[in-house]
Protein backbone atom coordinates (compact mmCIF):
# COMPACT_ATOMS: atom_id res chain seq x y z
CA UNK A 1 0.00 0.00 0.00
CA UNK A 2 1.41 3.44 -0.92
CA UNK A 3 1.97 5.87 1.93
CA UNK A 4 -0.16 8.90 2.58
CA UNK A 5 1.25 12.32 1.65
CA UNK A 6 0.80 15.58 3.48
CA UNK A 7 1.34 18.92 1.81
CA UNK A 8 1.35 22.03 4.00
CA UNK A 9 0.55 25.32 2.27
CA UNK A 10 0.11 28.84 3.58
CA UNK A 11 -2.44 30.93 1.79
CA UNK A 12 -3.77 34.34 2.79
CA UNK A 13 -2.63 34.06 6.42
CA UNK A 14 -4.17 30.57 6.85
CA UNK A 15 -2.67 27.10 6.73
CA UNK A 16 -3.94 24.35 4.47
CA UNK A 17 -3.18 20.71 5.22
CA UNK A 18 -3.64 18.81 2.01
CA UNK A 19 -3.79 15.00 2.36
CA UNK A 20 -3.24 12.63 -0.54
CA UNK A 21 -3.39 8.84 -0.57
CA UNK A 22 -4.96 6.48 1.93
CA UNK A 23 -5.36 7.67 5.52
CA UNK A 24 -5.07 4.27 7.20
CA UNK A 25 -3.28 2.98 10.27
CA UNK A 26 -0.38 1.62 8.24
CA UNK A 27 -0.07 4.67 5.99
CA UNK A 28 -0.33 7.65 8.30
CA UNK A 29 2.64 6.92 10.58
CA UNK A 30 5.10 9.28 8.77
CA UNK A 31 2.84 12.31 8.83
CA UNK A 32 1.19 12.06 12.25
CA UNK A 33 3.63 14.23 14.20
CA UNK A 34 4.07 16.80 11.42
CA UNK A 35 0.34 17.28 11.01
CA UNK A 36 -0.21 17.71 14.73
CA UNK A 37 2.66 20.17 15.08
CA UNK A 38 1.22 22.32 12.31
CA UNK A 39 -2.24 22.17 13.80
CA UNK A 40 -1.01 23.71 17.04
CA UNK A 41 -0.33 27.02 15.30
CA UNK A 42 -3.12 29.56 15.97
CA UNK A 43 -3.61 30.48 12.29
CA UNK A 44 -6.88 29.53 10.53
CA UNK A 45 -6.72 25.92 9.42
CA UNK A 46 -8.18 24.19 6.38
CA UNK A 47 -8.13 20.40 5.98
CA UNK A 48 -8.25 19.45 2.33
CA UNK A 49 -9.25 15.80 1.97
CA UNK A 50 -10.43 15.83 -1.61
CA UNK A 51 -7.50 13.64 -2.66
CA UNK A 52 -7.53 11.32 0.34
CA UNK A 53 -8.34 7.93 -1.14
CA UNK A 54 -9.90 6.50 1.97
CA UNK A 55 -10.18 7.36 5.63
CA UNK A 56 -10.45 4.53 8.13
CA UNK A 57 -10.94 4.94 11.86
CA UNK A 58 -7.21 5.39 12.41
CA UNK A 59 -7.15 8.12 9.78
CA UNK A 60 -10.17 9.61 11.48
CA UNK A 61 -8.26 9.46 14.77
CA UNK A 62 -5.57 11.63 13.17
CA UNK A 63 -8.13 14.16 11.91
CA UNK A 64 -9.81 14.29 15.30
CA UNK A 65 -6.44 14.72 17.02
CA UNK A 66 -5.74 17.65 14.69
CA UNK A 67 -9.14 19.04 15.58
CA UNK A 68 -8.35 18.80 19.29
CA UNK A 69 -4.88 20.30 18.90
CA UNK A 70 -6.22 23.29 17.00
CA UNK A 71 -8.04 25.79 19.19
CA UNK A 72 -9.91 27.58 16.41
CA UNK A 73 -12.46 26.48 13.89
CA UNK A 74 -11.37 24.25 11.08
CA UNK A 75 -12.57 24.41 7.51
CA UNK A 76 -13.15 20.92 6.12
CA UNK A 77 -12.82 20.45 2.44
CA UNK A 78 -13.53 17.51 0.20
CA UNK A 79 -15.09 15.02 2.65
CA UNK A 80 -17.63 12.58 1.24
CA UNK A 81 -20.95 12.13 3.00
CA UNK A 82 -19.93 8.74 4.38
CA UNK A 83 -16.67 10.17 5.71
CA UNK A 84 -18.46 13.09 7.35
CA UNK A 85 -20.84 10.63 8.96
CA UNK A 86 -18.01 8.46 10.28
CA UNK A 87 -16.23 11.50 11.69
CA UNK A 88 -19.41 12.72 13.34
CA UNK A 89 -20.02 9.33 14.88
CA UNK A 90 -16.46 9.01 16.14
CA UNK A 91 -16.53 12.53 17.52
CA UNK A 92 -19.68 11.69 19.41
CA UNK A 93 -18.20 8.46 20.74
CA UNK A 94 -15.14 10.17 22.20
CA UNK A 95 -15.74 11.11 25.82
CA UNK A 96 -15.77 14.84 26.48
CA UNK A 97 -13.50 15.08 29.47
CA UNK A 98 -15.14 12.12 31.18
CA UNK A 99 -12.90 10.76 33.91
CA UNK A 100 -10.95 7.62 33.08
CA UNK A 101 -11.00 4.93 35.71
CA UNK A 102 -7.60 4.84 37.36
CA UNK A 103 -5.52 1.72 36.99
CA UNK A 104 -6.16 -0.28 40.11
CA UNK A 105 -3.11 -1.42 42.01
CA UNK A 106 -3.40 -4.94 40.71
CA UNK A 107 0.10 -5.95 41.59
CA UNK A 108 -0.46 -5.62 45.29
CA UNK A 109 2.76 -5.94 47.20
CA UNK A 110 1.62 -7.72 50.30
CA UNK A 111 3.62 -6.95 53.38
CA UNK A 112 5.58 -9.81 54.90
CA UNK A 113 3.28 -9.70 57.89
CA UNK A 114 0.13 -10.04 55.76
CA UNK A 115 1.69 -12.89 53.82
CA UNK A 116 2.49 -14.62 57.09
CA UNK A 117 -1.06 -14.10 58.33
CA UNK A 118 -2.52 -15.50 55.12
CA UNK A 119 -0.25 -18.51 55.37
CA UNK A 120 -1.12 -19.18 58.97
CA UNK A 121 -4.79 -18.64 58.20
CA UNK A 122 -4.72 -21.06 55.31
CA UNK A 123 -2.92 -23.58 57.50
CA UNK A 124 -5.67 -23.28 60.09
CA UNK A 125 -8.42 -23.58 57.52
CA UNK A 126 -6.82 -26.73 56.19
CA UNK A 127 -6.60 -28.26 59.64
CA UNK A 128 -10.27 -27.45 60.26
CA UNK A 129 -11.17 -28.93 56.88
CA UNK A 130 -9.28 -32.08 57.81
CA UNK A 131 -11.20 -32.36 61.08
CA UNK A 132 -14.50 -31.86 59.26
CA UNK A 133 -13.47 -34.39 56.64
CA UNK A 134 -15.50 -37.42 57.72
CA UNK A 135 -18.73 -35.56 56.93
CA UNK A 136 -17.56 -34.45 53.51
CA UNK A 137 -15.79 -37.54 52.28
CA UNK A 138 -18.15 -37.78 49.32
CA UNK A 139 -16.23 -34.90 47.75
CA UNK A 140 -13.00 -36.84 47.84
CA UNK A 141 -12.31 -38.72 44.68
CA UNK A 142 -10.12 -41.80 44.90
CA UNK A 143 -9.15 -41.73 41.26
CA UNK A 144 -7.86 -38.21 41.71
CA UNK A 145 -5.72 -39.27 44.65
CA UNK A 146 -4.05 -42.09 42.73
CA UNK A 147 -3.42 -39.89 39.71
CA UNK A 148 -1.76 -37.32 41.98
CA UNK A 149 0.29 -39.90 43.84
CA UNK A 150 1.43 -41.43 40.56
CA UNK A 151 2.55 -38.10 39.21
CA UNK A 152 4.23 -36.98 42.43
CA UNK A 153 5.80 -40.35 43.22
CA UNK A 154 6.20 -42.96 40.52
CA UNK A 155 7.18 -40.47 37.87
CA UNK A 156 9.83 -38.95 40.12
CA UNK A 157 11.63 -42.26 40.70
CA UNK A 158 14.23 -41.97 37.89
CA UNK A 159 15.17 -38.46 39.00
CA UNK A 160 15.36 -39.53 42.63
CA UNK A 161 17.56 -42.53 41.79
CA UNK A 162 19.94 -40.46 39.71
CA UNK A 163 20.22 -37.61 42.22
CA UNK A 164 20.70 -40.00 45.14
CA UNK A 165 23.40 -41.99 43.38
CA UNK A 166 25.30 -38.86 42.35
CA UNK A 167 25.06 -37.24 45.78
CA UNK A 168 26.28 -40.46 47.43
CA UNK A 169 29.26 -40.55 45.09
CA UNK A 170 30.12 -36.89 45.53
CA UNK A 171 29.87 -37.04 49.31
CA UNK A 172 32.04 -40.13 49.51
CA UNK A 173 34.61 -38.72 47.15
CA UNK A 174 34.81 -35.35 48.86
CA UNK A 175 35.11 -36.74 52.36
CA UNK A 176 37.56 -39.46 51.34
CA UNK A 177 40.22 -36.86 50.56
CA UNK A 178 40.61 -35.34 54.06
CA UNK A 179 39.91 -38.72 55.74
CA UNK A 180 42.82 -40.26 53.85
CA UNK A 181 45.25 -37.98 55.73
CA UNK A 182 44.24 -39.76 58.94
CA UNK A 183 44.10 -43.18 57.32
CA UNK A 184 40.40 -43.27 58.19
CA UNK A 185 38.91 -43.72 54.76
CA UNK A 186 36.67 -46.60 55.87
CA UNK A 187 34.71 -44.20 58.09
CA UNK A 188 33.52 -42.45 54.95
CA UNK A 189 30.89 -45.19 54.73
CA UNK A 190 29.54 -44.35 58.17
CA UNK A 191 29.60 -40.61 57.55
CA UNK A 192 27.70 -40.81 54.27
CA UNK A 193 25.14 -43.27 55.64
CA UNK A 194 24.31 -41.18 58.69
CA UNK A 195 24.03 -37.91 56.80
CA UNK A 196 21.87 -39.54 54.12
CA UNK A 197 19.47 -41.19 56.57
CA UNK A 198 19.06 -38.29 58.94
CA UNK A 199 19.46 -35.19 56.75
CA UNK A 200 20.19 -35.42 53.07
CA UNK A 201 17.67 -38.08 52.11
CA UNK A 202 14.60 -36.21 53.41
CA UNK A 203 15.96 -32.82 52.34
CA UNK A 204 16.78 -33.83 48.79
CA UNK A 205 13.48 -35.64 48.38
CA UNK A 206 11.70 -32.54 49.66
CA UNK A 207 13.52 -30.26 47.24
CA UNK A 208 12.57 -32.56 44.37
CA UNK A 209 8.97 -32.68 45.55
CA UNK A 210 8.80 -28.89 45.88
CA UNK A 211 10.20 -28.36 42.41
CA UNK A 212 8.21 -31.04 40.63
CA UNK A 213 4.99 -31.34 42.56
CA UNK A 214 4.51 -28.25 44.70
CA UNK A 215 4.80 -26.05 41.63
CA UNK A 216 2.49 -28.33 39.65
CA UNK A 217 -0.16 -28.13 42.39
CA UNK A 218 0.11 -24.35 42.40
CA UNK A 219 -0.13 -24.03 38.63
CA UNK A 220 -3.06 -26.44 38.46
CA UNK A 221 -5.09 -24.80 41.20
CA UNK A 222 -4.01 -21.34 40.08
CA UNK A 223 -5.38 -21.97 36.60
CA UNK A 224 -8.61 -23.27 38.08
CA UNK A 225 -8.83 -20.13 40.15
CA UNK A 226 -8.12 -17.91 37.13
CA UNK A 227 -10.72 -19.67 34.98
CA UNK A 228 -13.26 -19.26 37.75
CA UNK A 229 -13.49 -23.01 38.17
CA UNK A 230 -12.87 -22.72 41.88
CA UNK A 231 -15.73 -20.22 42.16
CA UNK A 232 -17.93 -22.60 40.21
CA UNK A 233 -17.10 -25.35 42.70
CA UNK A 234 -18.01 -23.10 45.59
CA UNK A 235 -21.35 -22.12 44.04
CA UNK A 236 -22.11 -25.80 43.50
CA UNK A 237 -21.66 -26.24 47.20
CA UNK A 238 -18.38 -28.13 46.96
CA UNK A 239 -15.72 -27.28 49.50
CA UNK A 240 -12.54 -26.58 47.51
CA UNK A 241 -10.39 -27.40 50.53
CA UNK A 242 -11.78 -30.88 50.74
CA UNK A 243 -11.91 -31.59 47.08
CA UNK A 244 -8.68 -30.00 45.94
CA UNK A 245 -6.27 -29.58 48.85
CA UNK A 246 -6.66 -32.72 50.93
CA UNK A 247 -6.04 -35.26 48.15
CA UNK A 248 -2.95 -33.33 47.13
CA UNK A 249 -1.61 -33.12 50.67
CA UNK A 250 -2.29 -36.80 51.18
CA UNK A 251 -0.55 -37.70 47.94
CA UNK A 252 2.49 -35.61 48.85
CA UNK A 253 2.66 -37.26 52.29
CA UNK A 254 2.29 -40.72 50.85
CA UNK A 255 5.07 -40.42 48.32
CA UNK A 256 7.65 -38.60 50.44
CA UNK A 257 8.83 -41.54 52.61
CA UNK A 258 9.13 -43.66 49.48
CA UNK A 259 11.14 -41.02 47.64
CA UNK A 260 13.36 -40.56 50.69
CA UNK A 261 14.00 -44.29 50.90
CA UNK A 262 14.86 -44.22 47.20
CA UNK A 263 17.43 -41.47 47.71
CA UNK A 264 18.91 -43.27 50.73
CA UNK A 265 19.38 -46.51 48.82
CA UNK A 266 20.68 -44.85 45.66
CA UNK A 267 23.02 -42.72 47.77
CA UNK A 268 24.44 -45.78 49.56
CA UNK A 269 25.02 -47.43 46.20
CA UNK A 270 26.85 -44.36 44.92
CA UNK A 271 28.97 -44.27 48.02
CA UNK A 272 29.70 -48.02 47.73
CA UNK A 273 30.76 -47.49 44.14
CA UNK A 274 33.34 -44.88 45.15
CA UNK A 275 34.55 -47.04 48.06
CA UNK A 276 35.09 -49.95 45.68
CA UNK A 277 37.16 -47.73 43.44
CA UNK A 278 39.18 -46.71 46.49
CA UNK A 279 39.80 -50.41 47.10
CA UNK A 280 37.38 -51.39 49.89
CA UNK A 281 35.49 -54.67 49.45
CA UNK A 282 31.67 -54.46 49.66
CA UNK A 283 31.42 -56.47 52.96
CA UNK A 284 33.75 -54.02 54.70
CA UNK A 285 31.56 -51.10 53.58
CA UNK A 286 28.31 -52.85 54.56
CA UNK A 287 29.73 -53.80 57.92
CA UNK A 288 30.79 -50.24 58.57
CA UNK A 289 27.31 -48.91 57.66
CA UNK A 290 25.60 -51.48 59.92
CA UNK A 291 27.84 -50.60 62.81
CA UNK A 292 27.46 -46.84 62.50
CA UNK A 293 23.71 -46.56 61.93
CA UNK A 294 20.62 -47.96 63.58
CA UNK A 295 17.08 -48.36 62.20
CA UNK A 296 15.93 -45.37 64.15
CA UNK A 297 18.20 -43.05 62.12
CA UNK A 298 16.30 -44.22 59.06
CA UNK A 299 12.91 -43.92 60.76
CA UNK A 300 13.63 -40.40 61.99
CA UNK A 301 14.45 -39.39 58.43
CA UNK A 302 11.27 -40.99 57.12
CA UNK A 303 9.19 -39.22 59.76
CA UNK A 304 10.75 -35.90 58.80
CA UNK A 305 9.98 -36.56 55.16
CA UNK A 306 6.32 -37.13 56.01
CA UNK A 307 6.11 -33.69 57.61
CA UNK A 308 8.01 -32.10 54.72
CA UNK A 309 5.56 -33.67 52.27
CA UNK A 310 2.59 -32.21 54.12
CA UNK A 311 4.19 -28.76 54.20
CA UNK A 312 5.04 -28.78 50.50
CA UNK A 313 1.57 -29.99 49.50
CA UNK A 314 -0.09 -27.39 51.67
CA UNK A 315 2.07 -24.52 50.47
CA UNK A 316 1.64 -25.50 46.81
CA UNK A 317 -2.14 -25.61 47.13
CA UNK A 318 -2.20 -22.37 49.08
CA UNK A 319 -0.19 -20.61 46.41
CA UNK A 320 -2.59 -21.86 43.74
CA UNK A 321 -5.84 -21.11 45.52
CA UNK A 322 -4.77 -17.60 46.49
CA UNK A 323 -3.53 -16.77 42.98
CA UNK A 324 -4.79 -13.51 41.49
CA UNK A 325 -6.24 -13.11 38.01
CA UNK A 326 -4.63 -13.64 34.64
CA UNK A 327 -2.06 -16.09 33.32
CA UNK A 328 0.84 -14.34 35.02
CA UNK A 329 -0.71 -15.14 38.38
CA UNK A 330 -0.31 -18.84 37.62
CA UNK A 331 3.41 -18.42 37.07
CA UNK A 332 3.72 -16.40 40.24
CA UNK A 333 1.82 -19.06 42.16
CA UNK A 334 4.20 -21.75 40.93
CA UNK A 335 7.22 -19.65 41.90
CA UNK A 336 5.94 -18.90 45.37
CA UNK A 337 5.10 -22.59 45.83
CA UNK A 338 8.70 -23.63 45.15
CA UNK A 339 10.29 -20.80 47.12
CA UNK A 340 7.84 -21.11 50.01
CA UNK A 341 8.20 -24.89 49.99
CA UNK A 342 11.99 -24.88 50.16
CA UNK A 343 12.12 -22.17 52.83
CA UNK A 344 9.57 -24.05 54.92
CA UNK A 345 11.53 -27.30 54.64
CA UNK A 346 14.73 -25.68 55.82
CA UNK A 347 13.00 -24.00 58.76
CA UNK A 348 11.31 -27.26 59.70
CA UNK A 349 14.60 -29.10 59.39
CA UNK A 350 16.19 -26.66 61.83
CA UNK A 351 13.28 -27.14 64.20
CA UNK A 352 13.64 -30.92 63.99
CA UNK A 353 17.36 -30.66 64.72
CA UNK A 354 16.63 -28.78 67.94
CA UNK A 355 13.75 -31.08 68.98
CA UNK A 356 15.67 -34.30 68.27
CA UNK A 357 18.64 -32.94 70.18
CA UNK A 358 16.50 -32.12 73.23
CA UNK A 359 14.84 -35.51 73.11
CA UNK A 360 18.21 -37.16 72.74
CA UNK A 361 17.22 -38.94 69.54
Amino acid sequence: MNAAQLEIRTEGGGTILCFTGPLTARAIAPLWSRALATAKAPTPLTLDLAQAEMIDTSGAALLLAIERAHDHTITWHGLTDAQTKLLTQLRAALPQGAPIMPAPATIVRRSLWRTLLIRVGFFGETILATLALPRKLRFLRGAEFFRLADRAGTQAVPLVAMMGFLIGMILAFQSAIPMRQFGAEIYVAALVAISLFRELGPLLAAVILAGRTGSAFAAELGTMRVNEEVDALVTMGVDPETMLVIPRMAAAMLVMPALTLGIDIAGLLGMGFVMMILGFPPDAVIGQVQMATSPHDLLLGLFKSLVFGAAIGLIGCRAGLTAGGGPRAVGEAATSAVVGGIVAIILLDGLFAVIFYRLGL
Binding site: D56, T57, A61, A82, L90, P99, M101, T106, G325, R328
Partner: protein
Protein backbone atom coordinates in the same frame (compact mmCIF):
# COMPACT_ATOMS: atom_id res chain seq x y z
CA UNK B 1 -19.52 -9.46 -10.61
CA UNK B 2 -16.22 -8.66 -8.91
CA UNK B 3 -14.19 -11.31 -7.10
CA UNK B 4 -15.74 -12.40 -3.81
CA UNK B 5 -14.10 -11.44 -0.52
CA UNK B 6 -14.43 -14.98 0.74
CA UNK B 7 -15.21 -18.10 -1.17
CA UNK B 8 -15.93 -21.35 0.62
CA UNK B 9 -16.01 -24.41 -1.62
CA UNK B 10 -17.21 -27.82 -0.51
CA UNK B 11 -15.71 -27.43 2.94
CA UNK B 12 -16.07 -30.13 5.57
CA UNK B 13 -14.71 -30.81 9.02
CA UNK B 14 -14.41 -34.03 10.96
CA UNK B 15 -12.83 -34.52 14.36
CA UNK B 16 -11.70 -38.13 14.49
CA UNK B 17 -14.76 -40.05 13.38
CA UNK B 18 -17.15 -37.23 14.26
CA UNK B 19 -18.47 -35.33 11.27
CA UNK B 20 -19.28 -31.74 12.18
CA UNK B 21 -20.32 -30.55 8.71
CA UNK B 22 -19.79 -31.45 5.08
CA UNK B 23 -20.09 -29.76 1.72
CA UNK B 24 -20.47 -26.19 2.87
CA UNK B 25 -20.17 -23.75 -0.05
CA UNK B 26 -20.90 -20.06 -0.37
CA UNK B 27 -19.37 -16.79 -1.58
CA UNK B 28 -19.27 -13.56 0.38
CA UNK B 29 -19.09 -10.34 -1.63
CA UNK B 30 -16.87 -7.40 -0.72
CA UNK B 31 -18.74 -5.05 1.57
CA UNK B 32 -21.30 -7.67 2.51
CA UNK B 33 -22.43 -8.37 6.05
CA UNK B 34 -22.73 -12.12 6.15
CA UNK B 35 -24.24 -13.86 9.13
CA UNK B 36 -23.61 -17.48 10.16
CA UNK B 37 -26.50 -19.05 12.02
CA UNK B 38 -27.22 -22.37 13.62
CA UNK B 39 -27.82 -24.18 16.86
CA UNK B 40 -25.17 -24.48 19.53
CA UNK B 41 -22.46 -26.95 18.59
CA UNK B 42 -23.29 -27.05 14.88
CA UNK B 43 -19.83 -25.82 13.93
CA UNK B 44 -20.14 -22.06 13.49
CA UNK B 45 -16.98 -21.26 15.40
CA UNK B 46 -15.27 -24.16 13.66
CA UNK B 47 -16.16 -22.71 10.25
CA UNK B 48 -14.86 -19.34 11.38
CA UNK B 49 -11.59 -20.88 12.56
CA UNK B 50 -11.23 -22.47 9.14
CA UNK B 51 -11.78 -19.13 7.41
CA UNK B 52 -9.07 -17.44 9.47
CA UNK B 53 -6.62 -20.31 9.01
CA UNK B 54 -6.55 -21.65 12.56
CA UNK B 55 -7.97 -24.97 11.49
CA UNK B 56 -7.45 -26.57 8.12
CA UNK B 57 -10.65 -28.06 6.77
CA UNK B 58 -10.64 -31.82 6.29
CA UNK B 59 -12.27 -31.28 2.91
CA UNK B 60 -12.69 -28.42 0.46
CA UNK B 61 -10.99 -25.08 0.02
CA UNK B 62 -11.41 -21.55 1.34
CA UNK B 63 -10.18 -18.45 -0.46
CA UNK B 64 -10.02 -15.12 1.32
CA UNK B 65 -9.40 -11.97 -0.76
CA UNK B 66 -7.93 -14.14 -3.48
CA UNK B 67 -5.58 -16.06 -1.17
CA UNK B 68 -5.89 -19.75 -0.45
CA UNK B 69 -6.19 -19.80 3.33
CA UNK B 70 -4.38 -23.12 3.69
CA UNK B 71 -1.29 -22.02 1.76
CA UNK B 72 -1.18 -18.23 2.08
CA UNK B 73 -2.25 -17.94 5.67
CA UNK B 74 0.03 -14.99 6.40
CA UNK B 75 -1.38 -12.89 3.56
CA UNK B 76 -4.88 -13.60 4.82
CA UNK B 77 -4.00 -12.74 8.41
CA UNK B 78 -2.75 -9.30 7.40
CA UNK B 79 -6.16 -8.25 6.21
CA UNK B 80 -8.47 -9.61 8.87
CA UNK B 81 -9.57 -8.77 12.36
CA UNK B 82 -11.04 -11.44 14.57
CA UNK B 83 -13.13 -11.35 17.70
CA UNK B 84 -13.12 -14.74 19.38
CA UNK B 85 -16.15 -16.13 21.11
CA UNK B 86 -14.38 -16.01 24.47
CA UNK B 87 -12.92 -12.56 23.86
CA UNK B 88 -9.40 -13.96 24.32
CA UNK B 89 -8.01 -10.67 25.61
CA UNK B 90 -4.42 -10.80 26.79
CA UNK B 91 -4.83 -11.21 30.50
CA UNK B 92 -1.70 -9.45 31.60
CA UNK B 93 -2.33 -6.24 29.62
CA UNK B 94 -4.71 -3.38 30.20
CA UNK B 95 -7.47 -2.86 27.64
CA UNK B 96 -5.66 -0.02 25.90
CA UNK B 97 -2.47 -2.09 25.73
CA UNK B 98 -4.48 -4.95 24.25
CA UNK B 99 -5.60 -2.64 21.43
CA UNK B 100 -2.27 -0.90 21.00
CA UNK B 101 -0.45 -4.19 20.55
CA UNK B 102 -1.44 -4.79 16.90
CA UNK B 103 -0.74 -1.13 16.17
CA UNK B 104 2.71 -1.42 17.72
CA UNK B 105 3.42 -4.66 15.86
CA UNK B 106 2.26 -3.63 12.41
CA UNK B 107 2.69 0.15 12.12
CA UNK B 108 5.41 2.71 12.82
CA UNK B 109 3.02 5.05 14.60
CA UNK B 110 4.50 6.98 17.54
CA UNK B 111 3.23 6.07 20.98
CA UNK B 112 0.97 9.12 21.29
CA UNK B 113 -0.67 8.25 18.00
CA UNK B 114 -1.18 4.63 19.00
CA UNK B 115 -2.79 5.81 22.22
CA UNK B 116 -5.07 8.20 20.38
CA UNK B 117 -6.16 5.53 17.94
CA UNK B 118 -6.67 2.92 20.66
CA UNK B 119 -8.71 5.40 22.74
CA UNK B 120 -10.91 6.08 19.75
CA UNK B 121 -11.53 2.37 19.20
CA UNK B 122 -12.39 1.92 22.85
CA UNK B 123 -14.73 4.91 22.67
CA UNK B 124 -16.41 3.35 19.65
CA UNK B 125 -17.46 0.37 21.73
CA UNK B 126 -18.32 2.52 24.72
CA UNK B 127 -15.31 1.65 26.86
CA UNK B 128 -13.58 5.03 26.90
CA UNK B 129 -13.41 5.09 30.67
CA UNK B 130 -12.06 1.57 31.11
CA UNK B 131 -8.77 1.76 29.24
CA UNK B 132 -6.63 1.15 32.29
CA UNK B 133 -8.45 -1.93 33.50
CA UNK B 134 -7.20 -5.48 33.10
CA UNK B 135 -9.37 -8.10 31.40
CA UNK B 136 -9.82 -9.80 34.77
CA UNK B 137 -11.36 -6.60 36.11
CA UNK B 138 -14.12 -6.09 33.55
CA UNK B 139 -17.48 -7.74 32.97
CA UNK B 140 -18.21 -10.34 30.31
CA UNK B 141 -20.00 -7.87 28.05
CA UNK B 142 -17.19 -5.38 28.45
CA UNK B 143 -14.70 -8.08 27.48
CA UNK B 144 -16.72 -8.76 24.32
CA UNK B 145 -16.70 -5.10 23.42
CA UNK B 146 -12.99 -4.72 24.17
CA UNK B 147 -12.33 -7.73 21.95
CA UNK B 148 -14.27 -6.05 19.13
CA UNK B 149 -12.20 -2.91 19.61
CA UNK B 150 -9.05 -5.01 19.35
CA UNK B 151 -10.32 -6.64 16.16
CA UNK B 152 -10.86 -3.13 14.76
CA UNK B 153 -7.39 -1.95 15.78
CA UNK B 154 -5.88 -1.99 12.31
CA UNK B 155 -9.14 -1.28 10.46
CA UNK B 156 -8.91 -4.53 8.53
CA UNK B 157 -11.05 -4.81 5.41
CA UNK B 158 -12.42 -8.11 6.67
CA UNK B 159 -13.84 -8.63 10.14
CA UNK B 160 -14.87 -11.87 11.82
CA UNK B 161 -17.02 -11.53 14.90
CA UNK B 162 -17.98 -14.64 16.87
CA UNK B 163 -21.17 -13.82 18.77
CA UNK B 164 -20.42 -10.13 19.38
CA UNK B 165 -23.74 -9.37 21.01
CA UNK B 166 -24.04 -12.47 23.20
CA UNK B 167 -24.28 -11.34 26.79
CA UNK B 168 -24.94 -7.70 25.93
CA UNK B 169 -28.05 -5.78 26.90
CA UNK B 170 -30.37 -4.93 23.96
CA UNK B 171 -29.37 -1.28 23.89
CA UNK B 172 -25.63 -1.94 23.74
CA UNK B 173 -26.31 -4.72 21.25
CA UNK B 174 -28.23 -2.34 19.00
CA UNK B 175 -25.38 0.16 19.30
CA UNK B 176 -23.04 -2.55 18.09
CA UNK B 177 -25.28 -3.23 15.08
CA UNK B 178 -25.17 0.48 14.27
CA UNK B 179 -21.39 0.45 14.52
CA UNK B 180 -21.13 -2.48 12.12
CA UNK B 181 -23.43 -0.76 9.61
CA UNK B 182 -21.57 2.56 9.89
CA UNK B 183 -18.17 0.94 9.45
CA UNK B 184 -19.42 -0.85 6.39
CA UNK B 185 -20.85 2.37 4.96
CA UNK B 186 -17.70 4.37 5.62
CA UNK B 187 -14.99 1.82 4.88
CA UNK B 188 -16.68 -0.84 2.78
CA UNK B 189 -15.58 -3.52 5.27
CA UNK B 190 -16.77 -7.06 4.84
CA UNK B 191 -18.20 -8.68 7.96
CA UNK B 192 -18.69 -12.31 8.90
CA UNK B 193 -20.80 -12.33 12.03
CA UNK B 194 -21.96 -15.27 14.09
CA UNK B 195 -25.08 -14.39 16.01
CA UNK B 196 -28.34 -15.79 17.32
CA UNK B 197 -30.12 -12.49 17.86
CA UNK B 198 -33.04 -12.38 15.43
CA UNK B 199 -33.34 -8.61 15.66
CA UNK B 200 -29.67 -8.18 14.96
CA UNK B 201 -29.84 -10.57 12.00
CA UNK B 202 -32.65 -8.64 10.37
CA UNK B 203 -30.96 -5.34 11.17
CA UNK B 204 -27.53 -6.04 9.71
CA UNK B 205 -27.43 -9.19 7.58
CA UNK B 206 -27.32 -8.91 3.82
CA UNK B 207 -27.29 -12.66 3.57
CA UNK B 208 -26.88 -15.56 5.93
CA UNK B 209 -26.01 -19.22 5.96
CA UNK B 210 -27.56 -21.63 8.40
CA UNK B 211 -25.71 -24.72 9.58
CA UNK B 212 -27.38 -27.66 11.24
CA UNK B 213 -25.99 -30.42 13.38
CA UNK B 214 -28.41 -33.14 12.30
CA UNK B 215 -28.02 -32.28 8.63
CA UNK B 216 -24.23 -32.09 9.13
CA UNK B 217 -24.04 -29.16 6.79
CA UNK B 218 -25.81 -26.05 5.57
CA UNK B 219 -29.58 -26.02 5.38
CA UNK B 220 -30.16 -22.49 4.11
CA UNK B 221 -28.37 -19.70 2.29
CA UNK B 222 -29.85 -16.37 1.34
CA UNK B 223 -31.47 -13.16 2.48
CA UNK B 224 -32.97 -13.60 5.97
CA UNK B 225 -36.33 -12.01 5.15
CA UNK B 226 -36.76 -14.24 2.12
CA UNK B 227 -35.76 -17.35 4.04
CA UNK B 228 -38.34 -16.54 6.66
CA UNK B 229 -40.98 -16.15 3.99
CA UNK B 230 -40.25 -18.99 1.68
CA UNK B 231 -37.93 -21.63 3.14
CA UNK B 232 -39.54 -25.06 3.31
CA UNK B 233 -37.03 -26.38 5.84
CA UNK B 234 -38.67 -26.94 9.21
CA UNK B 235 -35.58 -25.96 11.23
CA UNK B 236 -35.15 -22.73 9.28
CA UNK B 237 -38.82 -21.91 9.76
CA UNK B 238 -38.61 -22.68 13.46
CA UNK B 239 -35.57 -20.44 13.79
CA UNK B 240 -36.94 -17.40 12.01
CA UNK B 241 -40.48 -17.62 13.29
CA UNK B 242 -39.36 -18.49 16.77
CA UNK B 243 -42.64 -19.73 18.23
CA UNK B 244 -42.53 -19.86 21.97
CA UNK B 245 -43.21 -23.48 22.91
CA UNK B 246 -43.93 -22.26 26.41
CA UNK B 247 -46.71 -19.73 26.70
CA UNK B 248 -45.35 -16.40 27.90
CA UNK B 249 -46.53 -15.55 31.36
CA UNK B 250 -49.54 -13.31 31.51
CA UNK B 251 -50.53 -14.28 27.95
Amino acid sequence: MSAPAISVEGVGQTFGKRVIFQNVSFDIAVGEIFVVLGGSGCGKSTLLKQMIGLLSPTAGQITVLGHDVARETDAVRRSIGVMFQSGALFGSMTLIDNIMLPLALFTDLPLAARQDIARLKLALVGLADAENLLPSEISGGMAKRAAIARALALDPPLLFLDEPSAGLDPITGAGLDRLILDLRAALDCTFVVITHELQSIFAIADRCVMLDREAQGMIALGVPAELRRSSDNATVQAFFNRQPTVQPRGA
